[in-house]
C-alpha cells in the first residue's frame, strides 16, 4: 500500500510542477487535474474488503476456518486476561444444502429457518482435496458460525467498535503476549459475512450475573470503517444450551463458506487448540451433526502475561520518528528511559552522547538527521536484553498433557527453552514430540505449529518452524529423513513460539518469519527432545531385536523336536517345553548383555535411562503393540523373500 501511494505522489510531482510540458505533449492522456479528482483516501476496511486474502478469506473453505479461528482466539484471550478457566462452544450450522433439516434440528433457533428459502447452490469443483463429509454437506454454501465463551464479557459501549471496526482493539498498541495482535480478525470476519451474505453480525454479551444482557446486530460501513447498529436490545436473561450464562460473549456470523474435514479444517484447528490449551474446555458441533468435546486437562489458568515497553534494539527509524513526535516527555533522556524497556539513565546518556546529542536535548527539536544518528547510536550501545517475565510458555507438563489427550502415540516428550530475543522482542520456544503408537508409519512426520498457543494451519513451507524441522538432522535420532525434507515415520512434532510480537509473514497470521535467532532456538529445542526420542527408539529396537531372536528360535523348535522323535524315543511335549524355556533363558540373558552403553539394563518394559525424566511419557501398552507388530513384520518378510527362489527350484526340477 505504502509503495503504491508513494508512486502516485511522485507521478503527481512529475506532471504538475516539474515538467508541465510533458502533459501538454500528451493531450489525450489524463491530466494531473483529472487524476487528482480520482485520488482519495482509502479506508482500511475498504482496502481489506477488496484484498480479503490478506486476512485469510481467500476461498470459502478457508473463510470458515479463519472466522472460527478469530472468534476462538478472542474468547481464549479474554478468558485468560480475566483469569477465567475458558469454556468455549463452537457451533456451525449449514443454512442451505441437503443438510438443512439436520442442521435446523440441531440449531433449534429461528435464525436457521430463516434461510430455508435460499436456493441450493452447487459448486462444480473442489478447490482443495479433503476428506469427504456427509454428502449433503458438500453442497452447502452458506453457514452460520456461533462461538460462545464464559469470558468476562464486553461493556455495552465497546461492543459495536470491537466487532464493527477494523484495527480497533486493545492489542496493537502494547507489547504483550496474546493470541490476537492487531485487532483486525473478528471484525474482518464479520465484514466478510456481511459482504457474502448480507447478514448482520450478532453479539450477545454479559459482564456479570447482576448485569443486563446486551444483544446487538451490527453491520459495517466499509467506506468509513464505522459500525452500523441494526438493533440493540437489552435482555434480563441469557440462556444457552439449557444453562444461564452469568458472563461471557457470543458472536454469530453468517457467511458463505464450505465445510470440509481433514487437513486445515475446523476439526484439525480445534484439535490443535486443545493440544496447546489443555486448560480450555471446548464443545464443538459440526454442521453434519457430529459433536465432539475436548475436555479440560489442566485446571489452572495460565498466568496473565505482562505488557512490556519495546526494547530499543527492535525499534525502526520510522517508528522512532513517530514516537519522538508523539511523546509526552520533554527531554530526550526521559523519552528513552520512559518509552523503552531496559534503558537506565546511564544507557540513555550513552546513546545521546554517541548520537552527538545530550540527555537534556528537547525531543521536539531533534532533527531528522539527528534521529538517524540516534537510531544508529541505539544499535551500537550495549543494552541489556529485554525482560522475559512477559512470556508465559505452555510448559512441558502442559504440552505433554495436551498431546496425551489428543494424540494416540506411545512416546511423548516436551521441552521449553529459556527465553531468547530477536530484534529486541523476547520470545520463547517449546517443542513436543509424540512417537509411535497409532501414528501412521509411512508418511512424513506431522508438524504442528503454534504461535502464542494459536495453531498455524496454512503455508507450512514458508514458516520458520517447518524450515527448522527440515534443517535438523533427524537421522541422528533414528528417524528417516530424505534430503531437504521432513522426517518420516510415526512422529508428530509440536513447536510453539511464545512472544510479545510474533513476526508473521502476513496479516492472516499463517507462517512465522524466518529469523536466525528463532530458527536457532527451535532447532536447539528439537535437538533436546530428539536425543530423548533417540534413546527411546534405540531401546525399542533392542527389544524388537531380542523378540526377533526369540522368534527365530521358537520357529525351529517344532522341527527339531519332530526330528528327535524320529531318531529316539522321547516325550515330544516335554522336549518342546524344555527347549522353549532354554530359548527364553538365552534371549533374556542377551537382553542384559546387549545394552548399547555396555550397562546392564533393567527389565525391558521400563523406560530405561528415561525413567526419571518427568518430561517424558511412555505409554507401555501402545509400545508393546508396536513391538509385536514389528516382530511380525520382521518374522514374515525375510522368509517371504526367500521363498521365491525355492519355488523356482522346484519348477526347474
Amino acid at each position: 500500500m505504502r509503495v503504491q501511494r508513494r508512486g502516485k505522489k511522485s507521478r503527481e510531482n512529475l506532471f504538475s510542477s516539474d515538467v508541465p510540458k510533458k502533459s501538454k505533449s500528451q493531450p489525450r492522456g489524463e491530466t494531473a487535474e483529472t487524476m487528482a479528482a480520482q485520488q482519495k483516501e482509502i479506508a482500511v476496511s475498504e482496502f481489506f474488503a477488496k484484498n480479503r486474502h490478506l486476512l485469510g478469506f481467500d476461498n470459502p473453505r478457508k473463510a470458515l476456518l479463519t472466522t472460527v479461528k478469530e472468534a476462538v482466539d478472542n474468547s481464549l484471550d479474554a478468558c485468560e486476561e480475566a483469569q477465567i478457566l475458558p469454556t468455549v462452544w463452537v457451533k456451525i450450522e449449514a443454512l442451505n444444502g441437503g443438510a438443512r433439516a439436520a442442521a435446523g434440528a440441531l440449531a433449534g433457533d429461528s435464525k436457521g429457518k430463516k434461510e430455508e428459502t435460499q436456493p441450493v447452490l452447487i459448486e462444480a469443483t473442489n478447490p482443495e482435496p479433503a476428506q469427504p463429509v456427509a454428502p449433503s454437506m458438500a453442497n452447502a454454501t452458506r453457514f452460520r458460525m456461533t462461538v460462545r465463551d464464559n469470558g468476562p464479557g464486553i461493556v455495552k459501549a465497546q461492543i459495536p467498535n470491537v466487532f464493527g471496526r477494523l484495527l480497533y482493539g486493545s492489542k496493537f498498541h502494547r507489547l504483550r503476549m496474546s493470541r490476537g495482535q492487531q485487532g483486525i480478525g473478528i471484525s474482518a470476519a464479520g465484514m466478510y459475512g456481511l459482504l457474502t451474505t448480507g447478514q448482520s453480525v450478532e453479539i450477545i454479551s454479559r459482564t456479570g450475573k447482576k448485569k443486563p444482557v446486551h444483544r446487538f446486530e451490527l453491520q459495517m460501513d466499509t467506506k468509513k470503517n464505522r459500525p452500523e447498529i441494526i438493533s440493540d436490545q437489552e435482555m434480563p436473561h441469557w440462556e444457552a444450551d439449557g444453562r444461564e450464562m452469568d458472563h461471557g460473549t457470543e458472536v454469530s456470523i453468517t457467511l458463505e463458506a464450505r465445510f470440509q474435514r481433514g487437513r486445515a479444517s475446523v476439526d484439525e484447528y480445534l484439535e490443535q487448540v486443545a493440544i496447546a490449551n489443555p486448560h480450555a474446555e471446548i464443545h464443538w458441533s459440526a454442521p453434519d451433526g457430529l459433536h465432539r468435546d475436548f475436555p479440560r486437562e489442566v485446571h489452572e489458568v495460565p498466568e496473565s502475561p505482562k505488557s512490556i515497553k519495546p526494547h530499543p534494539y527492535g525499534v525502526e527509524l520510522g517508528v522512532l520518528i513517530r514516537m519522538l513526535k508523539e511523546t509526552n516527555h520533554k527531554h530526550l533522556g526521559g523519552f528513552l528511559q520512559g518509552e523503552f524497556s531496559r534503558v537506565s539513565p546511564k544507557v540513555a546518556r550513552e546513546i545521546c552522547q554517541k548520537a552527538g546529542l545530550t540527555a537534556s536535548t528537547w525531543c521536539a527539536q531533534v532533527a531528522r538527521e539527528e534521529t538517524d544518528r540516534l537510531h544508529h547510536a541505539i544499535q551500537n550501545t550495549r543494552i541489556i536484553a529485554p525482560p522475559t517475565d512477559c512470556l508465559v510458555p505452555i510448559g512441558p507438563q502442559q504440552i505433554l498433557k495436551g498431546l496425551l489427550k489428543e494424540i494416540k502415540a506411545e512416546f511423548y516428550t516436551a521441552e521449553t527453552r529459556e527465553p531468547a530475543v530477536y530484534r529486541g522482542n523476547p520470545f520463547q520456544i517449546e517443542v513436543g514430540l509424540a512417537y509411535g503408537g497409532q501414528l501412521p508409519t509411512e508418511d512424513s512426520a506431522r508438524v504442528i505449529r503454534f504461535a502464542n498457543r494459536v495453531p498455524l494451519l496454512y503455508q507450512p513451507s514458508s514458516c520458520c518452524i517447518t524450515k527448522s524441522v527440515i534443517d535438523t538432522n533427524w537421522r541422528n535420532y533414528a528417524i528417516a529423513q530424505p534430503r531437504n525434507g521432513l522426517p518420516e515415520g510415526p512422529l508428530i512434532i509440536v513447536v510453539h513460539m511464545a512472544s510479545v510480537w510474533v513476526p508473521f509473514t502476513s496479516e492472516s497470521k499463517e507462517a512465522i518469519a524466518d529469523y536466525d535467532e528463532i530458527r536457532k532456538e527451535i532447532k536447539l529445542a528439537i535437538q533436546e527432545c530428539g536425543r530423548k526420542l533417540n534413546t527411546y527408539i534405540r531401546r525399542r529396537q533392542r527389544i524388537a531385536r531380542e523378540g526377533e531372536r526369540r522368534h527365530v528360535f521358537e520357529k525351529y523348535i517344532g522341527e527339531v523336536v519332530t526330528a528327535c522323535r524320529k531318531m529316539t524315543r522321547c516325550d515330544t511335549k516335554k522336549l518342546y517345553a524344555e527347549l522353549q524355556l532354554v530359548a527364553k533363558k538365552r534371549t533374556a540373558t542377551a537382553d542384559v548383555q546387549f545394552d548399547e552403553d555396555g550397562n546392564a539394563i533393567k527389565t525391558p518394559p521400563s523406560a530405561g535411562r528415561l525413567d526419571g525424566d518427568k518430561n517424558v511419557v511412555v505409554v507401555e501398552a501402545a509400545a508393546a503393540q508396536t513391538i509385536a507388530a514389528e516382530d511380525e513384520r520382521h518374522g514374515a518378510k525375510p522368509s517371504a523373500k526367500k521363498q521365491q527362489p525355492g519355488l523356482f527350484a522346484e519348477e526347474a526340477a
Binding site: K555, A563, T568, E578, P638, K642, P645
Partner: protein, 370 residues
C-alpha cells in the same frame, strides 16, 4: 545283497544317529543349549600326513548350537538330515542326496519359511553329518548322481550282474556313487594300468580308438573333478588289483588340482582320504613342456588369467608339491610361458594324435611326474 559286515555297519550308524537325538534331549533336560562339535572341513584343518602321503583331517571342530542366531537354522537342518537318514536306515533303503533334499523340504509350521530352499543347502549339511558321526555317505544310505564312465579289460559284478568292461559300447559303464565291495566286486582283470582322463569328450576319443584294447588298460573319466565313486573305484582297483594309476588332464592349475585330489585327497573330504587317496598315482600329462616337446602350435594355447596365476602359485605352495623339484619346475614353466593348454589342443596335429602318438610316447619315455 547286503553282507553281514554292512548290516553291522548299518546298526552302528543307526546307533550313532540315535545318540545324536539323545544328546539334544539331555541338553534340553538340563536347560542347556543343545549343540554338536562338527569337525572343520577347511584348509585350516587339513593336514598332510608325510608318512602316508595323504591329506588327513585335523582335530579342530566347530560347535554348532541351536540357540545361536547364526547357527539356529543350520542346527535345525542338521537334525532334519539326521532324521531322514535314520528313516532310510530303518527302511533299509538308499536314496540320492537330491531325493533327500526333497524329502526334507517343507514349509515350517506357522511361518512362510522353508526348511531348505535349495539342494546346495542340504548337501554340505550331509557332509557335516558324515564327519560328525564319522559315518560315510554310503553308510547313511545316500548316494550322489552317477558321474564318470569306465571301459577296459576288466570284468566286474555290479549288484549281481556281470559287467564286461570290453562290451560297454560308446558310453562305457557308468560308475555309481557307491562302489563298496558289498555291491561291486572286481572279478577278473587283464589290464596293466588305469588311465584317468579329465574329460568325457577326450575319453570318448580313447574309447573310439579302442586305446584300452591296443594298450591293455582301463580308461576312466570323472567329468572334471572325479566324484567319490570314481575315486573309490580307482583306489580299490589300485590296491586290490595292484594296477598303477595314470592321470591325464588339461595343462592348467585346475588339472594339477585334479591330480592332487586323486593323489592326496581333497581338503573338503579330508576324512575320506584314507579310503580314496592314491599317493602312487602318476601325472602323465599334459605338462607345460609338452607344447615344445610335441611341436604344438602357439595358436592353440590359451593365455593364463590372473585367477590362473594365483591358483598356480597356491598349488605350488601345497606341502605335497613344495619339496618336489620336478613339480616346482613344471609349474614354474607354466607361469614362465604364461599359457594353458587343453587336451583337445593335441587334435591340431591329428584327431588321433593323442591316442596314437602323444600318450604312447609319454609312457614309453616314462615322462610322468610323481
Amino acid at each position: 545283497m547286503a553282507t553281514t559286515a554292512s548290516k553291522t555297519r548299518n546298526r552302528e550308524t543307526a546307533q550313532k544317529l540315535k545318540e545324536m537325538a539323545d544328546t539334544v534331549v539331555a541338553f534340553a533336560k538340563k536347560r542347556q543349549d543343545p549343540g554338536f562339535d562338527i569337525p572343520t572341513r577347511a584348509l585350516s584343518n587339513a593336514k598332510f600326513d608325510e608318512k602316508k602321503q595323504i591329506i588327513t583331517m585335523g582335530d579342530a571342530s566347530q560347535r554348532r548350537n541351536f540357540f545361536n542366531l547364526g547357527q539356529a537354522k543350520k542346527f535345525m537342518q542338521t537334525m532334519l538330515v539326521a532324521a531322514g537318514c535314520k528313516e532310510l536306515n530303518e527302511q533299509g533303503k538308499t536314496t540320492s542326496i537330491r531325493d533327500l533334499y526333497y524329502h526334507l523340504k517343507h514349509t515350517i509350521d506357522g511361518t512362510r519359511e522353508n526348511t531348505f530352499d535349495e539342494q546346495s543347502e542340504s548337501d554340505p549339511i550331509i557332509e557335516d553329518l558324515e564327519v560328525t558321526i564319522a559315518s560315510l555317505r554310503e553308510e547313511l544310505g545316500l548316494f550322489a548322481e552317477n558321474k564318470g564312465a569306465m571301459v577296459g579289460n576288466i570284468t566286474l559284478i555290479d549288484n549281481g550282474d556281470v559287467i564286461d568292461g570290453r562290451r560297454m559300447g560308446t558310453g562305457g559303464w557308468s560308475v555309481p556313487s557307491i562302489v563298496e565291495p558289498d555291491i561291486i566286486q572286481l572279478k577278473k582283470c587283464e589290464a596293466d594300468y588305469i588311465l584317468l582322463i579329465e574329460k568325457g569328450a577326450v575319453w570318448r576319443r580313447f574309447n573310439e580308438d579302442r586305446y584300452w584294447d591296443t594298450n591293455n588298460c582301463v580308461i576312466l573319466h570323472g567329468g572334471g573333478q572325479p566324484p567319490r565313486g570314481v575315486r573309490r573305484l580307482m583306489y580299490r582297483m589300485h590296491h586290490e588289483l595292484h594296477l598303477p594309476v595314470y592321470v591325464l588332464v588339461d595343462n592348467d592349475p585346475w588339472g594339477y588340482y585334479i591330480y592332487s585330489v586323486v593323489k592326496q585327497g581333497s581338503i573338503n573330504l579330508a576324512f575320506e582320504s584314507v579310503r580314496m587317496a592314491i599317493p602312487k598315482a602318476r601325472f602323465i600329462g599334459m605338462s607345460s613342456y609338452d607344447a615344445e616337446q610335441f611341436g604344438i602350435s602357439r595358436t592353440v594355447t590359451i593365455a593364463m588369467k590372473d585367477e590362473d596365476v594365483r591358483r598356480a602359485k597356491e598349488i605350488m605352495a601345497y606341502p605335497w608339491f613344495k619339496n618336489k623339484k620336478p613339480w616346482q619346475k613344471e609349474i614354474h614353466h607354466m607361469l614362465a610361458t604364461g599359457v594353458k593348454l587343453e587336451l583337445e589342443a593335441l587334435s591340431s596335429k591329428d584327431f588321433s594324435f593323442i591316442t596314437e602318438t602323444y600318450l604312447p610316447t609319454k609312457l614309453k619315455k616314462r615322462l610322468w611326474l610323481d
